[in-house]
Symmetry: C2
Subunit: 212 residues, 2 copies
DNA sequence: TAAACTTTGTGTTGAATTGCACAAAATCGG
DNA sequence: CCGATTTTGTGCAATTCAACACAAAGTTTA
């Protein structure tokens, strides 16, 4: 079942399915079809069925998919039945916004620590909400030790481009296995570490091409 | 030259090339090869040459590409020789971070107005930097009028999921042609409007799949 | 100048991805 | 209970995308 390697492009669609299913579930819907799900996510019904069939048979002919079951299976496949601890490095505007934003919890992630190298920021508190200031900005010098000790496997990199590769190297050394990179450059990391990119300017430029 | 439709997947790579070229240029490098550029962006040299050849012949055999010229051509192709005005809707943590962040300027974009529907926020100032508070949070009720009057064609949508589709409809009505959507759902818009998605949780879930 | 390199642009081949179509299985209506 | 309907999972065909390979054009070296 999982012996043959699943193409990356299929894996990349699974979180999209999961998100739509969770939304439907929150709205009280308990079952759906590949047709209906496809309309919600903008992917053909056949594509969805093929993707899911890579991991087993989750649906029933004539009925479709039972949403709670499919959510459970997709969560397990993506390993988000557990909640992953995440570290944030670089506490500029973006880093602050991410730490304060508490919306990842129900998607399988929670921020547990944050770092900066600016002496003017180290030791400052970041308030997650008005009553609760849980986060102390740590010194990036302690990053390798702190992350390794707390066994954090994911990080969001929000430093300027100039510091990004150096921080990435430290994250790798600390045992991090996935980096969500907000710095505008490609990071060089070992193949065992996954990197995903978020660069708003790139997305904007992908749209302006199409505007007369 | 541009008579045959350029595949989306090629368009999506152009901003990545441009970003790397601008970085090289900033570092004082004036020429490069498809080989070298490919190593920087993680794409094969042949792929880069094929992509660029869709738009003309920009390189020279034996020498490679003259960076200032290639930057100019790519900027023109992506229509970012001009600076695009962008509106931000939804002034939560993320919206604030985006408005305060002034790093889009040299990529072809600048935030010019922002909106929220919360009466407690409307009229508040958002400081872009310590000395200069340029942005007043406008009422989303005025969105269609204000955006149309100022001829803004791009927007970043940072509202909660529950408000996103309604806001998107208004943006379309106001004449916006590209929406960078941070809300965790797919927006339904006419084909003439482009949407790009940014959902950090989805990127994180694409990585956890690969972590034992 | 001439030979050895370098590098582009592109025709061709091969691989990956998507779309189509349908048998099989389940439900529904009367 | 049975025919009509819905919907899955999947083999096959079509299309899209990426890799390969090389002639042509330019540069460098001696």
């Amino acid at each position: 079942m999982n012996t043959v390697k699943v193409p990356d492009i299929i894996v990349s669609r699974l979180p999209v399915y999961l998100r739509a299913l969770q939304r439907m579930s929150d709205a009280g819907v308990v079952s759906t079809s590949s047709q209906e799900l496809g309309e919600k996510v903008g992917i053909s019904a056949a594509q969805i069925r093929k993707d899911l069939s890579q991991f087993g048979e989750f649906g029933k002919q004539g009925t479709g998919y039972y949403i709670p079951f499919l959510i459970e299976r997709l969560s397990k496949i993506l390993k988000v039945e557990q909640v992953w601890d995440v570290a944030v490095v670089g506490m500029g505007e973006l880093g602050h916004a991410i730490v304060r934003y508490q919306g990842f919890g129900n998607r399988g992630f929670r921020v547990v620590m944050c770092f900066d190298s600016d002496p003017g920021k180290i030791g400052n508190l970041v308030c997650a909400n008005q009553s609760d200031c849980t986060f102390v900005i740590r010194d990036t010098k302690d990053l390798v030790r702190d992350i390794r000790e707390s066994n954090v496997k994911l990080a969001m990199l929000c430093t300027p481009a100039s510091a990004a590769q150096e921080v990435a190297d430290q994250l790798v050394e600390a045992g991090v296995r996935g980096i969500l990179n907000y710095a505008p450059l490609r990071l060089i990391v070992p193949a065992s570490v996954k990197v995903q990119h978020i660069d708003p300017a790139i997305y904007l430029q992908r749209m302006t091409f199409y505007i007369d």
